[in-house]
């Protein structure tokens, strides 16, 4: 190595050191944060595990599950979870649009970055009418609140049952529009109502 090579090595080392010491100032103007921001929505069974979800449900028998929301949005976030109920033909949310069905119940949650919330959902079918090939849910109890409803399911010949779905949509407060917007996350459980 001759003197010219050493000079180049010194120049490169000085440049690297200069960039290193100028990083705090660069951080003020350029964001190097590449962490992806997201939210999690999930449901757990009555034992806080991802199993033993309610499925075959009897009228007047109480069932429960837990809904959880985790905030990884990079800051505090204001969420809303809609609890909705539908039969097999009623609309389910797609990847961008929420279901047009009216919510039964709602949770509102404020979470700091990295926080997780868990809410208990206890439900019971109080009044169900049935005939040979239809079941009609007239009254349902969710977390001690009685809801009048009118949801009918026909006998499913393929899966042998009267199927309904209890599902949860995640919404998030948008400061720009000053309103909640659908956060494109949904989870649910199928319920086979047995008289």
């Amino acid at each position: 190595m001759d003197l010219k090579d050493y000079r180049n090595l010194f120049a490169v080392c000085s440049l690297v050191l200069s960039l290193f010491v100028i990083t705090p100032t660069l951080n003020l103007f350029v964001s190097f944060n590449v962490e992806e921001s997201f939210s999690e929505l999930s449901i757990l069974g009555p034992a806080h595990m991802a199993k033993d979800y309610p499925f075959n449900v009897l009228v007047n028998s109480e069932e429960s599950l837990y809904v959880t929301v985790s905030n990884h949005m990079g800051g505090s976030t204001y969420y809303m979870v809609y609890v909705k109920f539908r039969n097999q033909t009623q609309p389910f949310p797609n990847s961008t649009m929420s279901s047009s069905l009216a919510p039964l119940y709602e949770f509102r949650v404020f979470l700091l970055h990295g926080e997780k919330w868990e809410g208990l959902v206890r439900f019971k079918f109080l009044e169900v009418l049935s005939d040979a090939d239809t079941v009609q849910v007239k009254k349902m109890l969710v977390n001690n609140v009685v809801f009048d409803m009118n949801s009918t399911s026909k006998w499913d010949h393929e899966y042998n049952g009267f199927y309904f779905q209890l599902f949860f949509e995640l919404w998030l407060y948008d400061m720009g529009t000053q309103n909640f917007k659908y956060h494109e996350r949904v989870v649910g459980v199928w319920l086979n109502i047995t008289i």
């Binding site: 000085s14 050191l17 100028i22 705090p24 100032t25 800051g75 509102r108 949650v109 404020f110 700091l112």
Partner: protein
Amino acid sequence: MFTRKFCVLLLVLVQISATLSQAAALDGDSEAVLAISAAEEVTASAYQAVKEAEIAGADISGFSQLLKDAVQLLAQARTSFRVGDFDSAVQFASLTSEIGKEVETKASRLRELKRGLPVMQVWLTMVESFLAVLAVIVLSFWSWRVFKRLYYRRIRATKPEVASDGS
């Protein structure tokens, strides 16, 4: 004749009581609507104030529990309204507004405290970086000169090798 008059009077009374109860229900309904919409506004403002305080660098964990309580009560108010329990809806919404206002006040105060600080921090960071870069440049030049001197001294001290003649 008397029976007929009595029936008419009874009908009129029934009609009046129905109208009055309907009006009362409507009153309860509209009162709940107003209370809930006020609570929604207060909660949104509180959340905005909290976000601004957080962006300004304030530690918001101290009153995040209050905002959690407020939004939870608001959800209860809306659910009560949905099932026609207007009294509970008004109660929950009023509590929400109360807590929401408290959060907003606390968050705004904290945000104001932090407001002047970032500008000073930016300047301080920039000055620190400038001085650090200057130090790196001066140090590099100085060490380069020292290195060059040592390098030449070593070259000069090196004795020329005499190649031996193999013949």
